[in-house]
């Protein structure tokens, strides 16, 4: 009977295939085969397409220049982000990071890759580096969301990933719980380059990947360390960013 049942189920599956739907809402059908999110979930993201700062990629509203960039002296070449950090995108990222739905990293990473293709040329880059997590945190969470995102970007841009060279020393307080000023302090001097892998980034053009860009403190610290270790140039690509002045 088991065999018959199997055949019957297989047949049903062919006639009425159970195709996976949207990875977030799990209900609606997909619009494209490439990105596994439905039309609704995709359109709730507030994409940045113009009015962004040429340097840090944040949305600029009613201003001539980007204030953050004036205050900071960013070490990276330029940063770009997919969207502003609105409710929808924060839900997706939250679910991905804290609700154990790391499968969401795939569609989000794919969108990140689409942006990567638009703003960076493959020929101008050598290696992709995700912003690392501290060892303890990696253990408790089980994965580094920046690495998962970077993996999709690396597929799209056809570049190698290096997650060995850049390391985070101590387990800091989560950035999101701090005020802007404290954030800079919080991350200063906590990143370092693993000496045995340093030669792999010597003279290289690096694309740094992270999920959220708020003040730019994290990626700026990473850039500093990478440049000090001999990287030629660092660019940044993140999923979410704030609006200028937020």
């Amino acid at each position: 009977m088991g065999v018959l049942n199997n055949i019957w189920n297989g047949f049903l599956g062919l006639v009425y295939p159970e195709v996976e739907g949207c990875l977030y809402c799990e209900v609606d059908e997909l619009v494209t085969d490439e990105v596994q999110l439905c039309e609704d979930c995709l359109s709730r993201i507030n994409y940045i397409t113009d009015n962004y700062c040429e340097k840090c990629g944040r949305l600029i509203i009613d201003e001539e220049e980007c204030k953050n960039c004036e205050e900071y002296n960013y070490q990276f070449n330029k940063a770009r982000a997919v969207a502003t950090y609105n409710q929808a995108l924060s839900d997706y990222i939250y679910d991905m990071k804290y609700q154990g739905r790391q499968a969401l990293a795939k569609p989000l990473g794919q969108i990140l890759g689409i942006y990567g293709l638009e703003f960076y040329k493959r020929e101008d880059l050598d290696v992709i580096i995700p912003v690392p997590l501290a060892k303890e945190k990696l253990k408790t969470r089980g994965f580094n969301q920046a690495y998962l995102l970077a993996r999709e970007v690396s597929k799209k841009l056809d570049l190698p990933i290096n997650d060995q060279v850049l390391k985070r020393a101590v387990n800091t307080v989560s950035q999101s719980k701090l005020s802007p000023l404290k954030r800079k302090e919080n991350v200063s001097n906590i990143f370092y380059c693993e000496p045995e892998y340093v030669k792999e980034i010597k003279g290289k053009y690096v694309l740094l990947i992270d999920d959220i860009y708020t003040t730019g403190a994290t990626v700026n610290e990473c850039s500093k360390v990478l440049l000090r270790a001999g990287a030629r140039d660092v660019s940044v690509l993140t999923l979410a960013t704030g609006e200028q002045g937020q």
């Binding site: 062919l14 006639v15 009425y16 295939p17 195709v19 689409i114």
Partner: protein, 778 residues
């Protein structure tokens, strides 16, 4: 690669491979045993690969399906020729015992029956027939037969006629595709006897329902509107007045007269609202739906379109009972596969192709188009998007099969569809209630009649837009493929992208342009490598018509026959749009009349003809078209030489006084290396003598025999000079002049020439590479 179980539409892939197999099956001729062995080998390897869970399993399964497609076609071919096929008994006096499978009235004076033969008696031997049905055509003054009747017929069976000219309609293949292999016409019948009654009782009961429905419609609606309503509800297209049918066809609204998923959908809708009104549980409604569909399929005599739509809805209902997600594309493909398993030749029926392609097209294109049309009210945007999607997808098929497309349906559908749905809706309910009492039917059918009158009014006013209908020649396969590729790219380009920078518009446009260039290169590269001269003597009945295609690609016509459409249709069906040179041998109807339409509807560069001696209406018409379309023409009174590439045209005209109008014919000699053809029009002996006297080199491999083989031409003196290897006589079957003349045939045989006649061979196709020539199959 995705597994079957992970795909959204696994059956679409299977359908593609099955279809490919069927196409291959008709193109190649493999031995039946070869296919069977490779099929078994593939099957074994499939099982082995499957057992080891190899990645290759899917590939080998698809190959298996491809082979199945090939085998299906080959199996039918074997059946067609087998000893128990009805085709073995054609052109002989036989007695047939068979059963009527279906009957229909075709036109006012003829009935058509599909007969399933059981036994054929030939010379006292009784043979059992397993393969092939027979089409029986009877005059309406005979007794009428119905489904299930067992008949005994003494008659002569014939094979249906084939196409007369390349690309023309072949009744034989048309019927063969419906598994009808033979024909019995009134002329072949000695005696018909009704021997008894058989058939399925259930089918008979349902067919009685059909008769009832017909009767109710007849009694409650006036002529000719009852025919239309019967067409809409029962698919009885035949009796709708021809003029109305023509209107639907010319406006590209023919699909309204075909029963489709639309009807089935309406039926189910009516049923479900009844069920809801009576608060019946869902499963009863579902079972009712399945029953209703099955009955409707039989009532409409199993038309392919109804079967298709019915099966899809059936699968839909089953899916929702099992609580499964439903993908219409996948279900549609499964239904197509099922139908192709029953009869692989469905694949080549335009109706089959159109119905499936249009449904796929609407599913695929409609959402995108609708979004782009979102500036207009939703209902209109939806119907416009559906209509546009359907038209975009159907376009190449319509041009390929009917050489005509119309832009009218894009808007026309929106005007007409609501009317038609209301008519069908009222009609269905009227017929249902009519079974209770005719008054209900009368009431509703008054509304239907009014709606039909309005519908016909709308159709009549749409006729004013006939400038939106275009005639096009049959496109090359590559162009059709290109069209669908570009349609795909177009859809991707106009798709509204939620994710910015996602559509790679520029890349798509670049790819499209590259593919266009590639296709153009392939189409033209073919003509660069070509060194064949193609010559076709068309079968235009009693008359002359020839077509030449030069190795350099020019298309040339020499005369066009008597029938007004035949030459033009030949050009349409073979994708010939431009005529570089047209030669009119002389102004007799059986040579010129068919060229008028060509002059009107095609691009003709240059026309050559002798100076007409009489100015009759035909001559005036020709000149009128030449002037209005500003076509270059030259009248030839003596001798003219033309060179096109390696090919020489020598055109002669009689230099003496012309008394007999046939002698005003141009003679055309074509030289291509060692190969020559001579066309002499209708020129008589006097002209022939004159040519010989002038010392012109007449020696030709092929001679188009003068004046359809009449004794007034082809003198011994002339033939001795021409010495043709092959003489072609362009002559009609049973012509009133009894041509060709036996003496002419004698003279030709005496100089050792072969003779081919268009009345027996239909079109004669000859090819030459400038060194030798060969006859080609059509």
């Amino acid at each position: 690669m995705k597994k079957f179980s992970e795909m959204k539409t696994p059956f679409l892939v299977i359908l593609l491979f099955l279809g490919l197999g069927i196409i291959l099956g008709t193109k190649i001729n493999l031995y039946w045993e070869v296919i069977l062995i490779s099929l078994i080998l593939t099957l074994i390897s499939t099982i082995i690969l499957w057992y080891y869970e190899s990645q290759l399993t899917k590939v080998i399964v698809l190959i298996l399906i491809l082979l199945l497609g090939i085998m299906q076609v080959e199996a039918l071919e074997v059946e067609y020729k087998s000893s128990s096929s009805i085709t073995n008994f054609v052109r002989q006096e036989v007695t047939i015992q068979g059963q009527v499978l279906s009957s229909s009235q075709s036109g006012a004076k003829e009935y058509e029956y599909i007969l399933e033969p059981n036994f054929v008696k030939l010379d006292n031997n009784i043979n059992k027939i397993k393969y092939g049905k027979i089409l029986l055509k009877l005059r309406s003054n005979r007794q009428e037969y119905k489904y299930g009747d067992r008949l005994k017929i003494k008659c002569q069976i014939t094979l249906p006629p084939t196409n007369r000219n390349p690309g023309g309609f072949s009744y034989r293949s048309y019927l063969k595709n419906k598994q009808v292999y033979a024909l019995i016409t009134e002329a072949g019948i000695r005696e018909i006897k009704l021997k008894g009654e058989g058939g399925n009782q259930l089918v008979k009961m349902i067919l009685r329902l059909r008769e009832n429905a017909s009767r109710i419609i007849n009694q409650t609606i006036d002529r000719p509107y009852d025919f239309l309503l019967r067409g809409f509800l029962l698919g009885d297209k035949e009796q709708i007045p021809l003029k109305i049918q023509e209107n639907f066809k010319n406006l590209g609204l023919n699909h309204l007269l075909v029963i489709s998923g639309f009807h089935i959908g309406l039926l189910i809708l009516i049923l479900n609202s009844f069920a809801q009104g009576l608060r019946l549980p869902k499963w009863i409604a579902n079972i009712g739906g399945l029953l209703l569909i099955s009955i409707y399929i039989i009532i409409t005599k199993g038309q392919a379109s109804v079967v298709r739509a019915g099966l899809v809805v059936l699968l839909y209902i089953l899916g929702s009972t099992f609580n499964r997600k439903i993908n219409i594309c996948n279900l549609l493909s499964l239904v197509a596969i099922m139908m192709l398993m029953i009869n692989p030749y469905y694949l080549f029926q335009p109706g089959f192709q159109l119905s499936f392609l249009i449904t796929y097209g609407i599913i695929y294109l409609m959402p995108v188009l609708k979004r782009r049309l979102s500036f207009i009210p939703n209902i209109i945007a939806t119907s416009l998007a559906v209509s546009l999607a359907a038209q975009l997808v159907a376009f190449p098929i319509l041009v390929y099969y009917f050489n005509q497309v119309s832009l009218i349906p894009i808007l026309g559908n929106i005007l007409v569809m609501p009317l038609v749905s209301l008519i069908i809706f009222c009609g269905f309910i009227a017929v249902l209630l009519g079974h209770l009492h005719l008054v209900f039917a009368q009431l509703l059918n008054n509304i239907s009649m009014l709606l039909i009158i309005i519908l016909l009014g709308v159709i009549d006013s749409l006729k004013n837009l006939s400038f939106l209908t275009f005639k096009l020649v049959k496109p090359h396969y590559l162009l059709i493929a290109l069209y669908y590729f570009l349609l795909y790219q177009f859809k991707e380009i106009i798709t509204y992208n939620i994710i910015p920078y996602y559509s790679r518009c520029k890349e798509r446009i670049t790819i499209s342009i590259m593919v266009i260039l590639l296709v153009l290169l392939l189409l033209h590269g073919h003509s660069i490598l070509n060194e064949e001269l193609k010559l076709i003597f068309l079968d235009v009945g009693q008359g002359d018509a020839a077509y030449l295609s030069l190795p350099t690609g020019e298309d040339i016509l020499i005369d066009g026959g008597f029938n007004e459409d035949e030459m033009a249709n030949f050009l349409y069906r073979n994708g010939i749009g431009d005529i570089e040179l047209m030669i009119i041998s002389h102004f007799h109807q059986d040579h010129v009349k068919g060229l008028l339409k060509v002059l009107q509807e095609f691009d003709v560069r240059v026309v050559l003809f002798p100076e007409p001696k009489v100015k009759n209406r035909l001559v005036r018409n020709v000149f009128k078209v030449l002037k209005s379309k500003q076509i270059d023409y030259y009248m030839i009174n003596d001798f003219r030489k033309l060179n096109v590439g390696e090919i020489n045209f020598n055109i002669y005209h009689y230099s003496g006084a012309i008394i007999e109008s046939n002698n005003n014919s141009l003679l055309v000699k074509i030289d291509y290396g060692d190969f020559q053809v001579l066309f002499t029009g209708d020129a008589g002996r006097e002209v022939e003598k004159n040519l010989v006297k002038r010392g012109i080199k007449l020696n030709s491999e092929i001679l188009k025999v003068g004046h359809h083989g009449s004794n007034s031409s082809s003198s011994q003196l002339f033939l001795a000079q021409v010495k043709p290897k092959l003489a072609v006589i362009s002559v009609g079957k049973n012509n009133q002049y009894n041509l060709p003349d036996l003496q002419v045939k004698d003279r030709l045989y005496k100089i050792g020439s072969d003779i081919l006649m268009t009345k027996n061979k239909h079109a004669i196709v000859i090819k030459s590479n400038g060194r030798y020539y060969w006859l080609e199959k059509k």
